[in-house]
Structure formats: C-alpha cells, structure tokens
C-alpha cells in the first residue's frame, strides 16, 4: 500500500488574548497609523452593531445580524482587499463593507427594509448581503471567472459562516475554483454557532479549512480574533489569487458573542458561562492591549475615538431615520431593465395603492 495524498492545515496567530505578540509580526504591524485604522474600524463596527440592535429593540429597524466579537474577521478582510476587488458577503460582514465604502446609512437602510441600502454608492461591483446561506459562493466563482477571462488582476472574496460549509453549493463553487484556478478567496467566519447548531454538530472534519483540500487547493486557519493575523493571511491569499491564480480557503476562528440575529435568543441553547469565557478573547480589547503596551494609544486617544465613532453612527442613524420611503412603484420599476408591457397594469395598481396611502404613488 502506498500513501497517495496527505494534507496539513496551518494556523496563523500573532497576538494572544491580552495583546502580547506570540510570533514575529508582519511588517504592517510596525505602522501605528495602520493599526489604529484597524482598531478604529473594529470599534466603529461594534458601535454600529450596538446602535442597530438598539434601533431594532425600539422598533425602528428590522431584524439585524450583529457581528459582535467577530469584528476582526471582517475588518481584516476589508483592510486587505483592494478597491477593485469584489466582496461577495454573507450577512455579517459590515466591518468589511464599511472599509470598502458602503456607508453606515446604507447598511441601516438595508436592515431597515429599504432596497436602496444595497445600491452602494461606493463599491459599485460588490455584491449585496446574501441571506440564503452559501448560495453566494457560486457568485464569487462567477465573478472570479469574469476576472480571469478578462485578464484583470482582481480577486473575488466570498465570506460565509461555519454552517455554510455544510452546503453543497459551497463545495460546487470551491470545486470549480479549483478546476479553473480562479482568483477567489473563500473566507469562513467560524463563529462556532450556526444559530443553535454548534460547530461540532456541523461537520465531523477536524477543521473547516480542510474542506478546500477536496477542491484541490489550500485551506488554512487564522485566529479570527487577531486582526493583525486576519489581515496578514488575507493579504497573502489575495496576492496568491491575484498573481498566481491560486484560490484559497481561510477559516477564521472566532466566536459569536451575540445572538444569531435580533430574532434569536441564544440563551435557549447556549450556556452563558461559555459566552463570558469567550469574552476574554474578543478582538477589540486584544488589539487595544497591543497598542497600549507599545504606548501607541492613550486613554485620551480612546475617549476621543469612542466619541467620534458614536457621533458618526448617530449621524448615520439620524439620516437613516429621516429618509422618506421610496414610492410604492419602486417595487416594480427595477424588476426588469424596462417594464414589460404585460406589467403596466400591475404598475398602475401599485401606483394607486401608493396614492391611497398618501405616498408619492408614481
């Protein structure tokens, strides 16, 4: 008998839970401004999430998926991507979206039930949030195939949760990425819970990263609560995808400190003690510890930044709340490039309903 295949999965981490470095740091970690940018992005994301939950609890926003505790994953992704790359997100990547230029007001609008929230003024080619789990993986493969056919040095980045890795769609997309050597990076935000189903019941594999092996490319793990590590690993993966046409799967190990969404109550299935234990490893305090230890960050800096983030989020929330609704006819005006004649009657009916409600019907 001979061994015909074998694999290894590596894990990258730079900071331990209190922010001390355990590895030689990547070069960008010597740049205070870059680390402060990452730190501020995580804080802004956390401030945004808290506001969104508060708005939902007071009836001013729809169901919302917080990224509490997982900010380093999406901020690390957003910080490493280039503007011309395309983000194909799931529904917990607001940190990356914000860094890519999606406005806080747009994200509020989306979760507030307004389609205009997905008409990003910033990253025009990024995909909107994807709700049906894992279905976005094929879109990322399609986007990457377009890049490859046009010989464009761009990368599609697909983000999904741990639960998504159980879906056939995700395997189909990864398999194609392997066959065609597509410039795509799949990132699994492994926050250990798919609503109430823990990671251990999602799959028997030791890692989620190794799911890439079956598709013919490398998978690796990264400490998803270490934004320096996420950024570094993403940067490497993006370069390999861009320059060498190597797709890659990155499993970011993190933890969902919040409920699945505001419609969920995690206490029904998850021990509070587990959650408080995991708070000790959360990403924001970790990077702050690192910055403070280097004397790159003071109490005054912290207070100033917290106030700035709060102001920015509050202003976006006010702008969102002050928005007027789209006319009722907006529901039919974007279904096709041009309204088919057969739908004109339905459009008139919608316009009449809009007018009845006192809105701008047409």
């Amino acid at each position: 008998m001979q061994q015909v295949a074998s694999f290894a999965v590596e894990r990258t981490a730079y900071l331990d839970a209190d922010g001390s470095s355990v590895e030689r740091l990547p070069a960008f970690a010597g740049d205070r401004d870059e680390l402060v940018r990452l730190y501020r992005s995580m804080v802004l994301t956390r401030t945004f999430d808290a506001k969104a939950v508060a708005l939902q609890r007071t009836g001013r926003l729809g169901t919302f998926a917080s990224s509490l505790g997982q900010e380093a994953v999406s901020v690390g992704i957003g910080a490493a991507m280039r503007a011309e790359d395309v983000l194909v997100p799931s529904f917990r990547e607001q940190g990356a979206q914000i860094l890519r230029g999606v406005t806080l007001e747009e994200i509020f609008a989306y979760w507030g039930g307004d389609e205009r929230g997905s008409d990003f003024a910033g990253p025009r080619e990024d995909f909107p949030i994807c709700v049906p789990v894992g279905t976005q993986a094929a879109h990322a493969a399609g986007v990457a195939l377009a890049f490859r056919l046009r010989r464009e040095p761009r990368v599609a980045v697909c983000v999904m949760g741990d639960g998504a890795t159980s879906k056939g769609d995700v395997y189909e997309a990864m398999n194609a990425a392997g066959v065609w050597r597509l410039p795509v990076v799949f990132v699994v935000n492994n926050n250990e819970w798919a609503i109430s189903v823990p990671r251990s019941r999602q799959t028997a594999t030791k890692t989620l990263a190794q799911k890439a092996i079956a598709a013919g490319f490398e998978g690796e793990q990264v400490d998803g609560n270490d934004v320096i590590a996420v950024r570094a690993v993403m940067e490497r993966a993006l370069a390999l995808a861009r320059d060498e046409r190597q797709p890659r799967l990155i499993e970011a190990l993190t933890y969902r400190l919040s409920d699945h969404t505001t419609a969920d109550d995690a206490r029904r299935y998850r021990d509070d003690k587990e959650v408080s234990e995991r708070w000790k490893a959360e990403p924001v305090g970790r990077l702050r510890g690192f910055l403070v230890a280097r004397e790159w960050w003071s109490k005054g800096d912290e207070e100033k930044m917290l106030a700035e983030c709060a102001r920015e989020v509050d202003a976006a929330a006010e702008a969102y709340l002050a928005r007027s609704d789209q006319p009722a006819t907006a529901m039919i005006d974007h279904v096709f490039a041009e309204l088919p004649a057969a739908m004109e009657g339905q459009r008139s009916a919608i316009a009449a309903l809009g007018a009845r409600a006192g809105g701008e019907g047409r």
Binding site: S118, T135, A138, L145, L149, E172, H334, F336, A342
Partner: protein, 326 residues
C-alpha cells in the same frame, strides 16, 4: 438560406451572438469538445475556443450561480443544462438571485443570462428526461420564460434572449430538435420577446399553446377544418411576461378557447390563461375555456407517455365540445 433543424438554428443563433458580442459565453456540461449532448453547441468550441465555450464540472447549482456572478460582471453567459429534469437544482439560484439581483440592488447589478434546457416529452427518454417545468420559471418574478416552437422562431427568440438585459429561461422542446427543417436566414434578426405569434386565423375557436404542443394544435386545426370548424392558432412563445392582448384579441373574435400544454394540469400555465379570459374576456366567451394538458402525475415512462401527452385528437375533441355551445 439553409433549411435547418431547431437544434441547428439554436446553434447558429448562439454563434451569431458570440460573433457580435465578445461578452457572450457558452457554458455547461459537455458543451465543449462534445458539442453538447444534443449537439446544440457543435462547432462552437472549435470556432470560439475554450475561454468562450466552457465545459463545466457536473454541477447544476453551480452553473446557475456562476451565471449570476458572470452576469453581475456584465458578461452574457448562455448556460446549457442537459435536461429539464436536471434544472431543478438551479431553481434556488434563479428564484433567490437571478430574478432579483437587479431589483434588490435597485439596478446597480443585473443578470443578463440565458438558461437553456431541452424540455418536454415525446422522445422515449429515460426517467427525469421528459419534464415540462415551465410553470416554475414562469412563476418567478424577474425572469422571462421563452419556449420556441419552430427552427425560425428558435433562432430569433434565442438571439433576443441573449441580447436581453435580464435573465431568460429558454426551454427547447427536444422532440422538435430534429423533427422538421425550415429555411432560417442567419441574418442576426431577433424576434420580439413578450409577444405571442398568431400562426393561423380562425373565427370559430382559438387554440393556444407553445413548444411541441404547437404542431399538435396545427394538426388539430386541420382536423377541425375538415369538419368546417375554423380554428385559429396562437404560439405563446414567451410564457412570461404574457402577451395577454394577442390572446384576448383572438378569443374576442372566436368566443372559444382551447389551451394545450404538456405540463401537469393543476396550476399550469393554461390555468393562468383561463383566468385571464375569465377576468378580461368573459363577455366574449361563448363557451367555457378548455384545457388539454398533462395530468397531475409524474411524467410516465415511455410505454405510457402517449397517453399523457396532449395530442391532436384530444385537442380537436375539446374544440368540438366547445362548438356544442351556442
């Protein structure tokens, strides 16, 4: 002009579209070297190369999702599914993404894709190879469902589907692939989508159908003509958006309507057309609306298939029943 079969006409339309627009791609299982299991892509690989005629893994959910990603990047993928029965895994992508990407981004991203599949019964095929699932696609918002019934219409409608800025599900009646030849000018002229075609005038009864049923309707019209019954025939062609005006106009003249399809009866497209006539054509009707359809059963295997598929005799019988109403 050359006399072409439907499958050749479809191939020529794809080639023409690829010639005129470098963003048009053909993807699917076995579409490359093999030229497609029905040979609909024969010669395209040799002519346009492996970057425009792309053999994919055996991966139907991927195929539709891939098209969404390509479409969002302004490519125009024409995706072949090998058989109607293998199109079901794509429904998730079609209903959740292709049909709504434009709407949910308020026009920022769109999905100019064509999903092709051989469809329908009548060729003594194995299980899952004789489905008529048009209702599913016709029910999805944001998607056009187009079914040609002759080589010429296949050519013109396929060109229109590829050039259309929105997703089109293009179902090709496989029993017609090689059934007849027709002169087809490869002139790049598209036929209009969203329009029914009036094939034959007739003042006594209007026969409505699409795809492989069209030939059955015409046979029935001939049978009826021998009995002095003048039957008009309409090829629906685009099931959705449905050209109600053409159907209503014809039925207003005849007062009678028979709708035929291979798809199962309940909630089938004939029910939609019957509802249209009840809602907007009621006072023109001289008789109830008749539906000649498949039954609410899985398509039978070949030995019972002929009892399932609507034929000219069933259609003519329905028309005769209607003539009994004065």
């Amino acid at each position: 002009m050359t006399a072409l079969t439907m499958v050749e006409a479809i191939r020529d339309a794809m080639a023409r579209a690829m010639e005129e627009d470098p963003d048009v791609l053909v993807l699917g299982e076995d579409v490359g070297h093999d030229g497609g299991v029905f040979r609909a892509t024969e010669g395209l690989f040799e002519r346009f190369g492996e970057e425009r005629v792309i053999d994919t893994p055996l991966s139907e959910a991927l195929l539709a999702g891939l098209a969404v990603g390509l479409g969002a990047q302004r490519m125009r993928p024409v995706v072949e599914f090998q058989f109607d029965g293998f199109l079901y895994p794509a429904i998730d992508q079609l209903v959740n993404h292709a049909g709504r990407l434009r709407n949910r981004t308020r026009g920022r991203l769109s999905c100019p894709i064509v999903i092709r599949a051989p469809y329908g019964g009548g060729i003594r095929a194995p299980e899952h190879h004789s489905e008529s699932p048009e209702t599913f696609y016709a029910h999805m918002p944001g998607i056009r469902t187009v079914i040609p019934s002759t080589p010429r219409r296949a050519y013109g409608l396929m060109l229109a589907a590829i050039r259309d800025p929105d997703p089109v599900v293009f179902l090709e009646p496989k029993r017609l692939y090689r059934a007849v030849r027709e002169e087809v000018a490869d002139d790049g002229e598209a036929l209009p989508l969203d329009q029914c075609f009036k094939i034959r005038d007739g003042t006594d009864v209007t026969l409505v159908g699409w795809g492989a049923s069209l030939a059955r309707l015409l046979e029935a019209a001939d049978l009826l003509a021998e009995e002095g019954i003048e039957a008009g025939v309409i090829d629906v062609a685009t099931l959705k958006p449905l050209d109600a005006a053409t159907i209503l106009d014809a039925v207003r003249r005849s007062g009678r309507c028979v709708i035929a399809h291979e798809a199962p009866r309940s909630y089938g497209p004939a029910a939609e057309i019957a509802a249209l006539l009840a809602g907007e054509g009621l006072f023109s009707l001289l008789a109830p609306v008749e539906r000649v359809t498949g039954f609410d059963v899985p398509v039978p295997l070949p030995r019972l298939e002929d009892h399932y598929l609507p034929d000219a005799e069933r259609i003519a019988a329905a028309a005769r029943r209607l003539m009994g109403y004065r």
